[in-house]
């Protein structure tokens, strides 16, 4: 049976449901690498130069893990651009180039290119993957793509309803979508601005989502916003999309900022991430105008958990104090809140009690 190895890094976190549907339909078995550990990061660090950003180091670590498992065909896509002149970061574009030149073990690399600026579209991308496995039947490939979309859409419909990442992924892969999600009301809500591969990797993000939920904070991520909504909100702020994979950061925070539902924004980015450094600044610029607090947390392979938690706690404390201040001093405008009267009362009680 044909096998393909997929490292649990970079595009895995956003696109795995699609990969799962596509490869299973074609009859290709997927081998996943183990979850990220400190060993994974250390393995990755051995191969790349020190200036390389954390996600790439983690990617290389996962790739080594797959090779250790005896997997000899590995999926390393190069996603160059997702629209005309909307390019990705150089390191993601050049992922196969990096891997080819730093790892000296023999293995086959499946390296399709998606480059809409040069006219290499989505279907070409998947045809070239299938051709590498000597599958040339176009009908079969198309049905596999449709299968991929089906699972991908299931997954995203669930996350849009507010189901957490892990739950939604499990349900989508089992083809048993969760229809209903009980919404828990929490006094504070924040947006975490971060790439999927930083945010949903429990080792890299130091489990930030769970930590925040323990502090009674509701967390919104890029999975709660559709790309269309994200793009429209960016336009409303007067910005243009320049980077392909920065939409999940800027779009999400712009969407919630315009909606006015959130109390703060937490930006989580890897040290030395080029596009992030610009985009966080761009959002910070708009945050100042909208008076939304923003904290920028940088992570790298040496990030200490204690300092990380302290900063997070201080930020949440500040948000809580700010909100309490507003609620006790200013009378609440009845017109705006009349629809969510009950929810708001609960929120207010919770805040004043804590």
């Amino acid at each position: 049976m044909k096998k393909i190895g997929i490292p649990r890094a970079i595009s895995y976190y956003n696109n795995y449901p699609f990969y799962f549907g596509f490869f299973n339909k074609l009859g290709i078995e997927i081998i996943l690498s183990d979850k990220t550990t400190t060993k994974t990061i250390n393995d990755g660090c051995k191969y790349v130069v020190s200036d390389t950003c954390l996600p790439i180091k983690v990617y290389v670590g996962h790739l080594c893990n797959l090779l250790d498992k005896g997997c000899d065909t590995i999926f390393v896509p190069s996603i160059q651009s997702t629209g005309f002149k909307i390019n990705n970061c150089s390191k993601i574009r050049g992922l196969p180039e990096i891997i080819r030149n730093i790892i000296n073990k023999p293995f086959k690399m499946i390296e399709p290119t998606l480059d809409k600026t040069e006219g290499i579209g989505f279907y070409d991308f998947w045809y070239s993957v299938a051709n590498d496995f000597e599958i040339y039947d176009k009908k079969l490939i198309k049905s596999a793509i449709n299968e991929g979309w089906k699972i991908y859409n299931d997954f995203h419909n669930m996350t849009l309803k507010g189901v957490s990442y892990n739950k939604a992924l499990k349900a989508a892969l089992k083809r048993k979508p969760i229809e209903h999600n009980d919404d828990i009301i929490k006094p504070l809500s924040v947006v975490i601005m971060g790439h999927g591969y930083n945010l949903f990797d429990e080792r890299i993000s130091l489990n930030i989502i769970k930590k925040l939920e323990k502090m009674d904070v509701k967390v919104f991520t890029s999975l709660n916003v559709t790309p269309k909504e994200a793009l429209e909100s960016i336009k409303e702020l007067g910005e243009v999309q320049y980077w392909a994979n920065e939409l999940e950061l800027t779009g999400t925070s712009a969407y919630y900022m315009l909606k006015g539902e959130i109390d703060g924004i937490i930006a989580l980015s890897a040290f030395g991430c080029g596009p992030d450094s610009l985009m966080v600044d761009e959002i910070a610029h708009h945050c100042k105008k909208a008076e939304v607090p923003l904290i920028h947390l940088t992570i790298d392979e040496q990030t200490g958990e204690a300092g990380f938690i302290t900063r997070l706690e201080a930020f949440v404390d500040m948000l809580l104090r700010k909100k309490r201040n507003i609620l006790t001093k200013k009378p609440i405008k009845i017109k705006e809140y009349i629809q969510n009267k009950n929810i708001d009362n609960i929120k207010k009680e919770k805040i004043l009690a804590s």
Binding site: V48, V49, D51, T52, S78, Q80, S81, K85, I86, N87, C89, S90, K91, R93, G94, P96, E97, I98, R100, N101, I102, E111, T113, D115, T117, K235, V240, Y242, G272, C273, G274, P275, D276, S277, L278, D281, H285
Partner: protein, 385 residues
């Protein structure tokens, strides 16, 4: 459609009447001389920002975010310094889809506006509609409609570019071989000044020949065994002597011939000339051809040029390669990851240097000296075998 129109408007602002315009642009190598010639012949007033220095860097660092790359910090400082001097129109090109360069102009615009300056920003793309957009930008800032002036300006500019490139190449060749130390440098400075002052197309066309003749007069030791080093890496850092700590001069004085692969004139000719008139194999095409074994796709920036040049150097008997890049430059980090393998397989020594605002010159020179020693020893070994 709406958004694209809006985008075009932000690209070329028009709040200042044409006759009041004082134009400035960021420094990059010796771009100031040809660009000044072009704009002055179109009838515009220009201000040239002072050369990059510690003071400029300080201003740049103070007003930009932490994570951005070094070239932006210096560009911003250039803008601020020229605005302080009285400029009110800033020009810059951009290349969307390459790297962070595409974000520079918008960020600078925002930062400067929030600092309270009043100015027009004129941005032109260097991606696909090159010549048309460039002409449009220059028309926008000058409103000059006389085609003769355009012809004069562009041919003056181009000839000056070629003259400077020739002078630089000869300087690199002469400096390690000269008998009286400092001759080549003096000659180069002299011709830069003359190039700057030249004001007619006829004389500008003769510049190249005159420079070659003048450099021939410098007494040199032709039989000296000089190792050849290729200087490759990021565009801005290569061209800006402040940022790269004048590496060309340091290397020349160590008795090494430097060959820089990125020359401004060549690059500009390739970018601006319509493809029907451009018959040579461009630098990029050559790089793509040579880098094929290591890289199958261009990934933005000058990464593929870096790899291609290294392979080219190895195949053409060059003794070593020095690769310089600013800190956190994304394409060059990819190149840095690939270079060790190229170096091993093509058997060529490669030194990667990362520059940032805190680079100490002493440590930097030590590393270069050690590398040059290695290259020299390798060369002697080769000759003896």
């Amino acid at each position: 459609m709406d958004s694209t129109e809006k985008l075009e408007k932000t690209k070329m602002e028009n709040t200042i009447p044409t006759k009041d315009r004082v134009i400035a642009w960021p420094r990059m190598g010796r771009i100031d001389i040809p660009l000044k010639a072009l704009l002055v012949s179109l009838g515009a007033k220009v201000i040239i920002p002072p050369p990059n220095s510690n003071k400029a860097l300080e201003i740049g660092v103070r007003n930009s975010i932490e994570g951005i790359c070094l070239p932006y910090k210096l560009n911003l400082a250039n803008y601020i310094m020229s605005l302080e001097k009285g400029a009110n129109t800033l020009m810059m090109f951009q290349a969307p889809g390459s790297c962070r360069l595409g974000n520079y102009t918008k960020m600078a615009q925002k930062t400067l506006k929030s600092m309270g300056y009043n100015f027009d920003m004129v941005i032109f793309d260097m991606y696909k509609s090159k010549m048309k957009q460039t002409l449009q930008a220059f028309w926008h800032v000058t409103h000059c409609i006389n085609p003769w002036k355009y012809y004069k300006g562009f041919s003056l500019g181009f000839n000056k570019f070629f003259a400077i490139d020739t002078a630089e190449r000869l300087l690199f060749y002469t400096r390690p071989r000269e008998l009286n130390k400092g001759d080549a440098e003096k000659c180069y400075e002299k011709w830069l000044k003359i190039t700057d002052e030249t004001n007619s197309v006829w004389e500008a066309k003769k510049l190249k020949k005159q420079i070659i003749n003048d450099f021939k007069k410098i007494p040199i030791d032709k039989n000296k065994n000089v190792p050849i080093i290729y200087l490759i890496g990021e565009f801005f850092v290569l061209l800006d002597p402040y940022t790269n700590q004048n590496i060309e001069k340091e290397l020349g004085e160590m008795g090494v011939e430097v060959q820089r692969q990125i020359m401004f004139g060549d690059w500009l000719e390739h970018v601006l000339k319509p493809s029907i008139f451009y018959h040579k194999e461009s630098h990029r095409e050559r790089s793509v051809r040579y880098a094929e074994k290591y890289m199958k796709r261009a990934i933005g920036g000058e990464c593929i040029e870096t790899i291609g040049d290294t392979v080219f150097a190895a195949k053409h008997g060059v003794d070593g390669v020095i690769h310089i890049s600013p800190f956190s430059c994304m394409p060059e980090i990819v190149a840095q990851n690939i270079l060790p393998k190229v170096s091993k397989e093509e058997d060529i020594p490669v030194l990667s240097l990362v520059l940032d605002e805190q680079t100490g010159k002493a440590g930097y020179i030590t590393r270069i000296e050690a590398f040059i020693d290695l290259v020299k020893r390798k060369k002697i070994k080769k000759i003896n075998n």
